[in-house]
Point group: C2
Chain length 480, copies 2
């Protein structure tokens, strides 16, 4: 079947609704709920046998700031302006100013909304360094807030909002509540129902869709619009080869099997533009344990290339740029431990840096200089090259020493996509000439949202982005 | 006017031809000539008052290998396989295998074609290091052929084919001959005629176009097809902000005023896909004079990051990745000279490396180590970190020393785009689902061609690519 079916080819629709939402993950569920609350009839199509999407597979941290109730109750200082300055430092010229402002100004309300769904958040602050707080606490640092150069433009504030006592299972908790609210709202939820085509009238307005349900092509009229929330495209190898050629061979595809780019492809077929398609999240979980942050990363030249206290996706961003993706951690016996989430190889061990250097095959003096220079300044609490925070500076001088390989083709880092349809913050899908496609909306990783580069990513940015803008898209479609 | 006009809205076309070519630069002229030679009626639309495009503004090197007549006559050894291996090393996973093979296998014939147009090529080989040979010779090295890591997979061969005695004006010579051949062929060439819309029938076939000629919208039937050759999009600030956000503020826009992305936008409106939109050529002309290659580039950390004997676009690629785009050349009095094509600032001068280091504000020992390490190995003809070729290795030990800033926001490097419509090697524009848009073709920088990253670029790759694949597209359209 073609991606687009002209309205004139459909004598009568099999089903009808006001707002048709494709995808029942974080974005789709948020869109469905808001559209329903705005008074629209809503039908949700989910290609798998149950909803939840990639959001449900995640820990479901939400990256929110500006003074949320949770931040407030825990005495954490943050402001809309400070939150904005941090995100602006993260994405610089690669962001949509209007989207960013809306998000920063709306984040406090968005957290209230999440709590109102019934998602429990515990008034506890985990100040340590971990991907996900395992203490039951709901607030933690999840990005580069305490790392250079971000500390130069924004006061550090923890903004990862995690369902209470959920550890890595926050997604189940969060999506459980959210999907239950959608069900209660009266939305018509159809699982094992994959969106296969959009229906367009002669003026280009999207007036419905075709879905594959029970081995039959079912036509569905959507009088107010279709909202595409089918996730990213990391599971579509044709697309990743095309758009992320350099990452394709090293990536562990991070997402749910439905992340095939269906919504992106159909949105394009309807005339929509795609942007940021060459960018992706690349995560190297170099912590926990946090003490590994005392180590230093070096490249094939034996040179450091990043402050090691960054978030794991920023490390990934820089690691990809190093020759052949060959990166190593040099560490001493005082701080060595195996990383919790990565299988790494120890390349060399020695009683002196010179021994490690020689065993690992670095040219004489290269690694020794790096370590000597680092140690000399670390002893003074300084890192003049990359400005790692003082808390993580301690000379690496406790023999034996080890060099650990984090080579990208060995560790195969998790990768997911950060490009998609170009949409207004309120979800309207845009053509290449900037005009709107009437009746067509998108949210979630089907579109290019707030996070647009691994260099500025923080855990929770996607869940916050997809639910926040999913809500806006649902509301906008309902008002159509 | 809308980008797409339905056929049913056009009662009668004002003009008619078999193949309509939009753009009279290198790609368009090549397409027009081949289509005409294949027996089709051809009309060419050029938005400016004369043809030539960005190809005419260039030195018109063509990057060709595999044993061209010029290589052969000069006793240069190359083979199709060696040529292929070199280009494969340049673009790795970011290339279209079918396109690359066609190009490597067809390059010898393509040079013969260029000579048959009347373009003079002098049987002289310039073996020096310059952006363009100023000796009148027609063959030279123009890329990374003699630089690591390319030397590991392909035997170095010069492949820049430059019109004789033309210096920087090769484009005028080349396009002069090519455009004259197109005129002689009987193609109907219309200047001051900008393509403004495509005409599509109900099945999606492109059957004509609308052009703005003499302040009037003129409809033109194209029975065999439309070939989009309107150049890249570096002059379209809306598009560069969207697709190249990180380069937008530092770029000197390199191209002709017609590089507005017209063909890309219209091809998208007709349903075409775009790929590689985030990639661009970034050139830092760190030579001539060639002796500057003896210097070393360092970043804000005082560390080297590339072998300095690379082509200027590979330096650009790595320079962009350094913190804040702050890169410097360290050089001694024996080798210092001002670069021929760049305005650079001298940041620090000193009788010792320590003095330069201190004056430039590097942390003590950072630059000194880099220079000491480099010098120690250079004295032995080695560069264990970045493998600069032996010819360019000499200790930097002749005081006084200088540190020269090549900061990207000061030198504002020339940038042009390497993304565009996704097309088959023979020019058929593809939809996101991989199907062809009947009647629509593209070539030149309107499409994603052979060169897809600055890291693997060489002078002459665009002109070779746009003319080679322009010819194929013209032939394919004529055969439609």
């Amino acid at each position: 079947m073609s991606d687009i079916v002209p309205l004139r080819d459909i004598p009568e629709f099999d089903l009808a609704t006001d707002v048709l939402v494709a995808g029942f993950g974080g974005a789709g569920a948020s869109a469905a709920l808001e559209a329903r609350r705005a008074g629209a009839e809503v039908m949700v199509l989910e290609s798998s046998s149950g909803g939840g999407g990639s959001t449900q597979m995640s820990a479901c941290e939400m990256y929110l700031g500006g003074g949320t109730a949770l931040q407030h109750d825990l005495g954490i200082e943050d402001s809309v302006d400070n939150f904005y300055r941090y995100l602006k430092a993260c994405f610089g010229d690669n962001c949509d100013e209007e989207r960013l402002k809306l998000f920063c100004e709306g984040a406090v309300e968005h957290f209230d909304w999440a709590e109102s769904l019934g998602v429990p958040y515990k008034r506890g602050f985990f100040s340590g360094r971990d991907v996900v707080a395992m203490t039951g606490d709901s607030l933690q640092y999840t990005g580069n807030e305490r790392a250079w150069p971000f500390t130069e433009t924004a006061a550090a504030a923890p903004r990862g909002h995690l369902p209470a006592d959920a550890d890595h299972s926050g997604g189940l908790v969060f999506m459980g509540h959210l999907m239950e609210r959608v069900r209660e709202s009266g939305a018509d939820i159809r699982c094992d129902a994959r969106l296969t085509a959009l229906v367009q009238d002669d003026q280009g307005r999207v007036v419905g869709a075709i879905a594959r349900i029970d081995n039959r092509d079912v036509s569905i009229a959507a009088t107010r619009g279709v909202v595409l929330c089918t996730g990213g495209f990391i599971m579509n190898e044709t697309m990743t080869r095309k758009y992320l050629p350099d990452l394709d061979s090293i990536a562990t595809r991070h997402g749910n099997p439905g992340d095939r780019g269906d919504g992106i492809r159909l949105g394009q077929a309807a005339g929509g533009n795609v942007i940021n398609m060459g960018e992706a999240f690349v995560g190297i979980a170099h912590y926990p344990p946090p003490q590994l942050t005392y180590g230093i990363f070096v490249n094939e030249q034996g040179q450091r290339f990043v402050n090691e206290d960054v978030y794991l996706a920023r490390l990934g961003h820089y690691a990809v740029q190093q020759t052949g993706g060959r990166v190593y951690m040099f560490i001493d016996n005082r701080h060595f431990e195996r990383p919790a989430y990565l299988e790494v190889d120890i390349v060399a061990v020695g009683e002196s840096v010179a021994e490690v250097e020689s065993e690992a095959g670095f040219p004489e003096g290269a690694l020794q200089h790096t370590v000597e220079f680092y140690n000399r300044h670390a002893a003074k609490g300084e890192d003049p090259l990359f400005h790692k925070a003082k808390d993580w500076l301690m000379p690496l001088d406790c023999a034996p020493f080890a060099l650990v390989s984090y080579a990208l083709d060995q560790i195969r880092p998790p990768v997911f996509t950060l490009g998609g349809l170009e949409v207004r913050p309120t979800g309207e899908v845009l053509r290449p000439d900037g005009s709107e496609i009437s009746g067509l909306y998108g949210a979630g990783r089907t579109v290019a949202g707030i996070p647009r580069t691994s260099a500025g990513y923080a855990s929770g940015m996607s869940v916050a982005d997809v639910t926040f803008f999913g809500r806006l898209a649902g509301r906008q479609a309902a008002a159509n």
